[in-house]
């Protein structure tokens, strides 16, 4: 597979003894991790109880639910791209990210006010997702610009781990509130808003807006075509998009697991929690490993985990232990790819177009994930879940091989910034 940097591996095992007192994880990264943690508690509180709210409480029809679900799941691609370009052009990453966070926070209060009109609920939830689309790329740009190029993998790993704490806590908190106060969804919306507000306060008051070497001139032209001429950027984005296409969504994997387990009804929230726990524990170590032995190698390891996940679903009897193994590998896939891809993109794009590059990556992967879901769904409907699993194993393995060849072909250039 991909050549592993043996010296780097040795360096990882040895104690770090660099002369510089520069911390690997900048304060900005810790603080943005905190912001994301609070924000994810807020947003996961909503998304975990959303089906209950829409379907059971508001009693929307399946068609209305489908429209809202579709809007909620995607359709923020344009906003992502635009926010990245705007952030680069203004050189105001924190400002643009804050706008996204604030929009999402306002929507929590909006939910409180809309009542049962489903079109209003749909509009509010779309705006909420729009806020998420806006904030992601400039936030990742802030992380990358506050971090030494050698440590990007570690920085994104730490950020994603803190983010995932919120993913775990949010649903627990929401269900606890729902249990204590049946049908008082206002309690959930208000608490969700409170966490969003604390996240924004931390961002505005504590996070440093200065972004190192990037000049603070306003209204610079952002040379977007340069991104398309940037071969490492194109290669990494293509590989990431291909991976998202094959891996599809978490929900889809959980459906396959449920199908495989037959009538044994597994609570889906527990499956999410299993993946998130594995991701949480592995994100920082694998990010660090990526900085030492090479990010493409760790990324390919992540893809290999996904091949094993699907192979496990295909070949194993899914009992308690095998289920745990599959979820561990699923979390490892995220830990080895999500932050590592952001680090690879950051290493491959000049600071002037960093947010644009990260936004383009987000847009590409979310579009291919959507396309993959649709196609997997069609196959499921026509041929059944067994065929879906077989195709998924082969597609994931093929993607692994193609990625290994392409990343190797792109050579050292994509390793720019790695030790």
């Amino acid at each position: 597979m991909y050549p592993i940097d043996v010296a780097g591996l040795r360096g990882l095992l040895a104690r770090r003894s660099r002369a510089s007192a520069r911390p690997v994880i900048a304060r900005t990264v810790w603080l943005l991790g905190l912001v994301s943690c609070f924000t994810d508690i807020s947003s996961e509180m909503i998304s975990s109880i959303l089906p209950v709210y829409l379907f059971v409480h508001l009693q929307l029809s399946a068609v209305q639910f489908g429209v809202i679900d579709g809007l909620y799941q995607g359709v923020t691609a344009v906003a992502r791209l635009a926010s990245g370009v705007v952030a680069d052009r203004w050189r105001r990453y924190k400002l643009v990210a804050t706008m996204g966070y604030v929009l999402s926070a306002i929507c929590k209060i909006g939910l409180l006010a809309t009542g049962s009109a489903w079109t209003a609920v749909a509009a509010i939830l779309s705006a909420d997702r729009l806020g998420k689309g806006i904030r992601t790329a400039p936030r990742d740009a802030l992380i990358s610009l506050a971090t030494h190029p050698q440590d990007l993998g570690s920085a994104f790993g730490v950020h994603r781990a803190m983010d995932t704490v919120g993913v775990l806590v949010g649903p627990l908190l929401a269900f606890w509130l729902l249990t204590s106060m049946p049908n008082r969804f206002d309690a959930i919306f208000v608490v969700s808003f409170a966490f969003a507000f604390i996240g924004i306060a931390a961002l505005v008051l504590l996070v440093d807006d200065r972004t190192g070497d990037v000049a603070r001139e306003r209204h610079l032209t952002v040379d977007l075509p340069s991104l398309l001429r940037n071969r490492p950027f194109v290669v990494i984005t293509t590989v990431a998009a291909l991976t998202s296409f094959v891996v599809v969504s978490d929900a889809f994997l959980y459906l396959l697991l449920q199908w495989k387990r037959g009538s044994g009804a597994e609570a889906i929230p527990l499956l999410y929690a299993g993946t998130a726990t594995s991701y949480l524990l592995l994100a920082a170590p694998l990010g660090r490993l990526a900085d030492r032995v090479g990010r493409p190698a760790v990324f390919l390891f992540g893809q290999a985990c996904m091949v094993l996940v699907y192979a496990g679903v295909a070949a194993l009897d899914i009992g308690l232990w095998t289920l745990g193994l599959v979820l561990l590998l699923h979390g490892a896939y995220y830990a080895a790819t999500d932050g590592v891809i952001a680090a690879l993109i950051s290493g491959a794009t000049p600071a002037e177009v960093r947010a644009s590059g990260l936004a383009a990556l987000n847009t590409a992967t979310s579009l291919t994930r959507l396309a993959g879901s649709v196609i997997a769904g069609v196959i499921w409907s026509w041929q059944g879940p067994g065929t879906v699993v077989t195709i998924a194993v082969m597609a994931a393995a093929a993607t692994l091989i193609v990625s290994a060849i392409v990343l190797r072909g792109a050579g050292r250039s994509i390793e720019a910034g790695t030790a």
Binding site: A26, R27, P51, V52, F55, V56, H57, L58, Q59, S61, A62, V63, Q64, F65, G66, V67, D69, L111, L112, A113, W118, H148, P171, L172, F175, W176, L178, T179, S180, P182, N183, R184, F185, D186, V190, V191, F197, I198, A202, L205, L206, D208, R210, A251, F252, Y254, L255, Q258, S263, A265, E266, A267, I268, P269, L270, S373, A376, W380, S381, W382
Partner: protein, 347 residues
């Protein structure tokens, strides 16, 4: 790579903001919310002594089990009342979303329980929870067979984003009181006009049992169409017997099926109660235009009960149980205010 420490003033401001949020939250919970009822979802006993005595009294005659919907500490809980108008209600401490009862056993589908998840509780004659069933999704419909040997439940699973609607159903039949799986309706063969049909988009919901618990009616949704199916549980087989009859409910005398009739389409669809005569398969529209969601229940062979929701917002949802004669001779009236999910237990 500048990474300066935030100033003390900024840190202090942040702390003030966080404290203010905490105080505001506490104030909101104090002012806006009723004190949370001190209940446990897993306590085997769900009735206190007084309620227990009242239940014994209630069970001498016919009564209705339902979900209490009046705001207050018992909101959302399983409750009982006799069929007399204005009868006092007997409350339990068990939060339920859907309930059904026979004279011996009961089932309650709950939305949020600890640990997080959707669960069904099987109850015995003494109102003890005898078995807990993990539901694969949001509670939707439930019915017990008349002899109390079997329970059927439908759960809605969200997240099947590969489906156009984003929702699919899981309907299972379990043995009572063990909770053991008897059948998953998805595993049934479906025959239409003597030909077996199948499609991966089959969704089943809304089971109603006949006197013979092996014979059931249910809804099959496929390709945007709604079919009424009649089936044999032991043989795992359904026969399609009609179209556009959704969420059937068989009358006590087994002569009629009350169902939800769809009006409009797409985003603007709504459902109204209707009745079909099984001898002639003629559908009678009832003089009732209110929208209904849950499966219909029979008060007696001439009258049906159904819940109608109102005042829905983020903070509350109210509902009343209405009744109407199936001969269409009179308009509907409220049978039980501030209640939903009725289950009539006859003597």
């Amino acid at each position: 790579m500048s990474d300066s420490r935030p100033s003390r003033a900024r840190i202090a401001t942040f702390v003030v903001f966080v404290s203010a949020v905490a105080v505001a939250l506490a104030a909101y919970f104090y002012v806006a919310l009723d004190p949370a009822p001190a209940t446990s979802n897993h306590a085997p006993g769900i009735v206190d002594e007084k309620a227990s005595r009242a239940l014994v009294e209630l069970k001498r005659g016919a009564y209705v089990a339902f979900r209490e919907m009046a705001p207050g500490p018992t909101y959302g809980h399983l409750a009982f009342a006799s069929l007399e108008p204005g009868a006092p209600r007997v409350f339990t401490s068990l939060p339920c979303h859907r309930v059904h009862f026979t004279d011996k056993v009961g089932i309650c589908l709950a939305i949020a329980t600890a640990p997080p998840g959707f669960r069904g509780f099987l109850l015995d004659d003494a109102m003890q929870v005898t078995q807990t069933i993990e539901l694969p999704g949001m509670p939707s419909r439930t019915r017990l067979s008349r002899d109390g040997q079997f329970a059927a439940y439908t759960a809605f699973v969200a997240g099947d984003s590969y489906l156009a609607s984003g929702l699919s159903t899981r309907t299972r039949i379990v043995r009572v009181p063990s909770g053991d799986d008897v059948a998953d309706l998805e595993s049934f063969a479906v025959v239409r006009n003597d030909k077996e049909i199948h499609s991966a988009d089959f969704n089943f919901w809304g089971v109603t049992f006949t006197r013979d618990p092996n014979r059931i009616y249910a809804t099959l949704g496929t390709g945007g169409r709604i079919l009424l199916v009649e089936g044999d549980v032991a043989q795992r087989m359904f026969r399609v017997i009609a179209e556009d009859i959704e969420c059937p409910s068989l009358s006590p005398g087994e002569t009629h099926i009350a169902f939800k009739k769809r009006f409009g389409s797409g985003f603007d669809a709504w459902w109204q109660p209707a009745v079909v005569d099984l001898a002639t398969m003629t559908v009678r529209q009832l003089p009732e235009s209110k929208h209904i969601d849950d499966q219909i229940e029979w008060l007696d062979d001439g009258h049906i009960l159904y819940a109608v929701g109102h005042s829905t917002s983020a903070t509350v949802r109210r509902a009343d149980i209405w009744t109407i004669a199936i001969d269409g001779s009179s308009s509907s009236s409220i049978f039980l205010a501030d209640a939903e999910s009725p289950a009539v237990v006859r003597r």
